[in-house]
């Protein structure tokens, strides 16, 4: 009982931030605090670290490629004596599996992994007081988001974020597309030359399109789909399946697909466009908005090296290191102070819209779909990630 009383206001505050950061204008999931505040998720009670002790001499990290590099981890080892052992993971599912082994202290979790980790008791709440660099400079849109803040406890230290953009080949697609309709509608002029992301979470992209084009479905959050809404999204995906040239799961494959001419338009990341090195490829955030991803450090509930892990989270939250990670990976940094460090940093922030909350207002960050509707509806059961996976496999079947 005592737990609940303390949690409700905190959840409401977190939900308000979700609304501010995620929802776009009128179709926000309702202004009443009660709806999202009702999102009480039963999570295991894992204690958080009370005070910082001596470093253990090492820290084991599961991370996306480019998040842990000698360029900044060597200096960390020099300063703290903690040797950094890195394990690169390719997908969110892999990260969840690796974290469950208990062999790792930290993970750079995306929103579609974090809720699963929290609910599974695999990660511990974070004592942000032990992380001085986690402060006012963290961009608004990344504070207290639903995917890393549950029942008022913070489970993640933001690293960076990015949107899934609509990328197109200007040699074929001569007019800048303003809508995602070029990749969804059967009569698209680019039918047969379209690429789509090869993962169940891509269903949310269909849902974002449906939010704008079929309002009668009543979708207010692409990660809260009841069975009718999921079926509508799957129908749209099946329609798209007929005009898709290729699904991409591997970033390198997506780049060769665009460069080799197999694909001329489709979903992409800003960093992939940059990596392709082709000036003919351009990206745009269409009027319907888009999905996106946001990554955060999370600490294992079985961490053997909690002190080094906290030191790492603090170290990487500094404007310099956070910015270095963001520039290396190609994303918007979580720490806005980085953008004022140099001209190069400012240019990077500009390119990736780091502090442009207007831009990210239309971006729905990946969140694990769960049975409790994250848009606050209580009269229906939403579809969970397993159902999404099954549904996704029927799209290509």
């Amino acid at each position: 009982m005592k737990k609940k009383r303390m949690l409700l206001p905190a959840v409401a505050a977190a939900a308000a931030l979700v609304l501010a950061g995620c929802a776009s204008g009128d179709d926000a999931p309702g202004g009443d605090v009660d709806a999202p505040g009702g999102l009480q998720i039963d999570v295991p009670d894992v204690p958080m670290l009370e005070s910082l002790g001596e470093g253990e001499g090492q820290v084991n990290i599961v991370a996306w490629s480019g998040f842990v590099e000698p360029a900044w981890s060597d200096k960390f080892t020099e300063e703290t004596g903690c040797v950094v052992n890195r394990r690169v993971a390719g997908t969110s599912d892999e990260m969840v599996t690796l974290m469950r082994t208990g062999d790792y202290d930290l993970v750079s979790a995306s929103g579609d992994a974090s809720l699963r980790l929290i609910a599974g008791g695999d990660v511990a709440p974070i004592n942000t007081e032990l992380i001085p660099n986690f402060g006012d400079d963290i961009v608004e849109g990344m504070k207290g988001q639903i995917y890393d803040t549950i029942n008022g406890k913070s489970y993640g230290i933001p690293i960076g974020r990015g949107a899934n953009i609509l990328q197109y080949n200007t040699e074929v697609v001569t007019e800048t597309p303003t809508s995602w309709d070029v990749v969804w509608e059967a009569d698209s002029p680019y039918a047969g030359k379209i690429t789509a992301y090869d993962a169940p979470i891509y269903i949310a992209d269909a849902a974002v399109y449906l939010m704008a084009h079929q309002p009668e479905l009543g979708i207010t959050n692409p990660y809260a789909l009841d069975e009718t809404q999921l079926a509508a999204a799957v129908d749209l995906l099946k329609q798209q399946n007929a005009i898709v040239s290729e699904y991409w799961g591997d970033p390198a494959a997506q780049i060769t697909s665009f460069v080799g001419g197999t694909t001329v338009v489709g979903t992409s990341w800003e960093v992939l466009r940059k990596l392709s090195g082709e000036d003919k490829l351009k990206g745009v955030l269409p009027e319907e908005g888009s999905t996106g991803w946001s990554d955060a450090w999370m600490i294992s509930s079985q961490s053997q090296n909690p002190n080094c892990a906290y030191l790492w989270m603090d170290y990487t939250s500094s404007p310099e290191v956070n910015g270095a990670i963001a520039m290396n990976f190609g994303m918007a940094p979580a720490n806005a102070a980085f953008c004022e460090l140099s001209d190069e940093a400012a240019a990077h922030c500009e390119e990736f819209n780091a502090t442009d909350e207007e831009y990210f207002k239309n971006v729905w960050f990946w969140t694990t779909p769960i049975e409790q509707c994250v848009d606050g509806r209580k009269d229906v059961t939403c579809t969970n990630f397993q159902q999404w996976t099954q549904a996704w496999l029927t799209v290509k079947g």
Binding site: T91, D93, E94, V96, T97, R100, R116, A119, G120, D198, P200, N241, V244, S245, E246, Y247, G249, D250, A253, T256, S257, G260, G261, T262, I370, E371, N384, F385, Q386, T389, Q390, W392, L393, T394, V395, K396, G397
Partner: protein, 300 residues
């Protein structure tokens, strides 16, 4: 006298210092157990045990939220293979791909084998043998990516055939079959070539003397004699194709295979993945059963 005494001493000292070999010599069963212990531990402990564990998992349930596996008993995972049209279609498509790869490999292997074994000069034979087996030295992923570059829209295939007005299959099920044929061809070509080499030349002469044309000779003389080799090769090409999904992912466009479904479920819903992994096992067992029925395995 003086020579036998040290010899006797020697023998007794040998027996004294090698009790293990003496014991093994006297007990054949222990000898057998010692010989088989390590391979059996590997086969039973690692291979069969993990397979059995996987099959057991297929009956377990997954927590829908945390996707943690909990022991239980449900047949839902197996049922969904049959009740979900997409799953059934994917299973049958994979079966079709595996059979197509096997047929294409055999169609390439027989003429090539005859040419290499009976017509080519020793020097050319050596070159061809190297050419067939050399791709085995290259990485699996490298070969698939090479096929990806070949068949991309502005790739080698379209470029080379553009003067003839032919455009390639792009990334589709056809490309998957071609890629898998490329990957597994040596497993078919090598046994077929070896079998054809063992056919005496005078059988060809006898056939020709009796008025058989080359096709008749192949059909009535060569094929019956190399049937065991063809079937042995086909077991490789068939079962390896059934399990593959990387080719579908990189050159398949929107092609989905059994492996794609297993890979999608392996982290989120391991019981479903385990249930689905039974499908290729069943296909291979049915295939082996059909092969055995034909009597070909007796000659292996």
């Amino acid at each position: 006298m003086t020579t036998t005494a040290p010899a006797r001493v020697d023998r007794s000292s040998t027996a004294g210092t090698r009790p293990l070999s003496t014991m093994l010599y006297r007990r054949p069963r222990l000898r057998l157990a010692g010989l088989l212990a390590i391979p059996m531990v590997w086969l039973v402990g690692v291979y069969i045990f993990s397979l059995a564990m996987m099959l057991v998992t297929a009956f377990w349930v997954t927590d829908p939220f945390t996707s943690k596996v909990k022991p239980g008993f449900t047949l839902d995972n197996f049922a969904s293979i049959f009740t979900t049209p997409a799953y059934l279609a994917t299973s049958l498509r994979t079966l079709g791909i595996a059979l197509a790869v096997t047929v294409v490999c055999a169609l390439f292997a027989v003429p090539l084998g005859i040419f290499m074994a009976k017509i080519a000069s020793p020097w050319l034979r050596g070159v061809l043998a190297v050419a067939i087996t050399l791709p085995l030295w290259a990485g699996y992923l490298v070969k698939i990516l090479a096929m990806r570059i070949t068949f991309t829209e502005e790739g080698f295939f379209n470029w080379a055939l553009a003067p003839l007005g032919i455009t390639g299959p792009g990334f589709s099920i056809v490309t998957v079959i071609l890629t898998l044929t490329y990957l597994w061809f040596p497993y078919m070509a090598v046994p077929v070539y070896t079998a054809i080499r063992q056919i005496p030349v005078n059988l060809f002469d006898a056939s020709a003397d009796m008025g058989a044309k080359s096709w008749t000779t192949i059909r009535t003389v060569v094929l019956p004699l190399i049937k065991p080799a063809l079937l042995a090769g086909s077991i490789f090409t068939f079962s390896l194709s059934l399990g593959d999904f990387i080719a579908a992912r990189f050159v398949g466009g929107s092609t989905q295979m059994i492996g794609s479904i297993i890979a999608s479920n392996i982290n989120l819903n391991p019981p479903m993945a385990a249930a689905f992994s039974v499908v290729p096992i069943v296909f291979v067992l049915l295939y082996l059963f059909a092969v055995r029925k034909s009597g070909a395995l007796r000659n292996l």
